[in-house]
């Protein structure tokens, strides 16, 4: 058990570094799309450290302090629930029976904490951005839930282990190919989770200064950054386990998460931003309808 905890912590630290690296890489790729040289891929490490060492002279009450903590813990907690490598004694983290249900709750934990703190900061832009973020979450959670419940029902399990178990043996056993419509719904909702354009309504600089963390400075912001990075990696792992059949060794995990990391990047560079209601309407129509095709099919066949 001690080894398990130790390895989980090591994995969390590696995930933080990996997430920061991926963030810098995405900045680099976007810069190349713009025709620029772009920052170094380690720019995010420098930013996080600089923010961590800046002074803080702001206080808006207790919730204000709790928000970055919630964000960070939401990221780490989500990460600790998801198995990295399938049935390895160490790297399968703390996945247990029914962890899928817990995960669905945990993934909104950070956003809710963020909402609380941002509202506490009392900045009108933050308030508007919080409403946007929560509505957006309500938007992309629906197709995601349809996908998760459909996959769980199809595999007769609500544990990651079971789902990965069911996908073993050949690439065609992956849920991506078993249930393509569910996968499409999940991947579209993934765009919303990663706030890639055109769904980036929460952090809209030209509309509401920088969204929820308008009032958050130095350490708060660095905590948010790192929490967001771990959370991103955790979500990559979730989608890897749900759709791409998990990973049987560490290299495979890295490759699959990297492929999943590329997917929102393909979209984000070439679209403007939706209005909030347009984005939520989009999530509640196309991905839901696409997902329901498989969903109903599964119900008919399996019951």
């Amino acid at each position: 058990m001690f080894n398990k905890i130790l390895f989980a912590l090591i994995a969390a630290i590696v995930a933080l570094a990996y997430g920061l690296f991926l963030g810098g890489l995405s900045r680099k790729i976007m810069a190349r799309l713009h025709g620029r040289k772009g920052p170094t891929v380690f720019q995010n490490f420098i930013d996080v450290w600089k923010l961590f060492r800046k002074r803080t002279a702001i206080s808006h009450g207790v919730m204000f302090y709790l928000a970055p903590t919630f964000r960070f813990l939401g990221g780490v907690g989500t990460f600790l629930l998801v198995p990295i490598v399938f049935d390895s004694p160490y790297l399968s983290n703390f996945s247990f029976g029914g962890d899928l249900i817990v995960l669905i709750y945990f993934m909104v934990f950070g956003c809710l904490g963020m909402a609380l703190g941002a509202s506490e900061s009392g900045h009108p832009h933050s308030a508007i951005a919080v409403t946007r973020g929560l509505s957006q979450m309500a938007g992309y959670e629906l197709p995601f839930l349809i996908a998760v419940i459909g996959i769980a029902f199809a595999n007769h399990t609500i544990t990651f282990q079971g789902i990965i178990q069911a996908q073993q043996g050949g690439i065609l056993h992956w849920n991506l190919f078993q249930y393509p419509f569910l996968s499409i719904a999940a991947l579209i909702s993934m765009l919303g989770m990663y706030m890639s354009y055109p769904f980036a309504v929460v952090m809209a600089p030209q509309e509401i200064a920088v969204g929820p963390p308008t009032e958050f400075s130095s350490e708060f912001l660095s905590f948010m950054f790192s929490g967001r990075s771990i959370f991103a990696v955790a979500k990559y792992l979730v989608f890897m386990n749900l759709l791409l059949g998990g990973a049987t060794n560490l290299l495979e995990a890295f490759i699959k998460t990297f492929i999943l990391f590329l997917w929102p990047l393909f979209i984000t560079g070439v679209f403007p931003r939706f209005r909030l209601e347009q984005s939520v309407r989009f999530f509640w129509t196309y991905p839901v309808l696409i997902g329901l095709i498989d969903f109903i099919g599964i119900f008919i066949t399996r019951s």
């Binding site: 620029r36 450290w49 923010l51 002279a57 920088v210 130095s218 912001l221």
Partner: protein
Amino acid sequence: MADNKHFLNDKPEKLTYARVWEKFDNWARANSLWVVAYGTGCGSIEIPPMVTSRFDAERFGVNMVGTPRQADVLIISGYLAVKTLKRVIRVYEQMQSPKYVVALGACPINGGMYFDSYNTINLLDKYLPVDVWLTGCMPRPEAILSAFADLMKRIKEGRADGWKKYIDNLGEYRKNQEKIIKNWKMPNYNW
């Protein structure tokens, strides 16, 4: 210690530790300068070319952020009208230390071509501590980048301490500011 004179107030036993720590922090600060997106004057017309694909400032870690809370650098781009000076002071006091001010053009130095205008200030450093002056109207994007390079050099050497000056002589700065800004209604930001 031979180079003790560089660290006048540091005790020798804490010297190396403080030195390494400080150097690393300054390196990080110099390599990720976030500029608050506030075009206060003409000079802001050369900011878009600077941050976009021809003179790519982001490769030096120079990045534009929308809120002063998260920014490190405040660019005073050209002359300052009194009405703008009030907002600039608010923006500057909301920024978290360490923070740096870059003044573009000749107008903040001595009024420039607006030396006799009733609405633009002549001497910026009476109201805000300036770390890097940059002359020329307009300063070309290369010139602004060179100003940033100079600022990075000063930060790495630990000489960009305008914010310390501001905190120390806050009363004097306040006196000058309140002299020209009538009915001074501003929150006191905690230092």
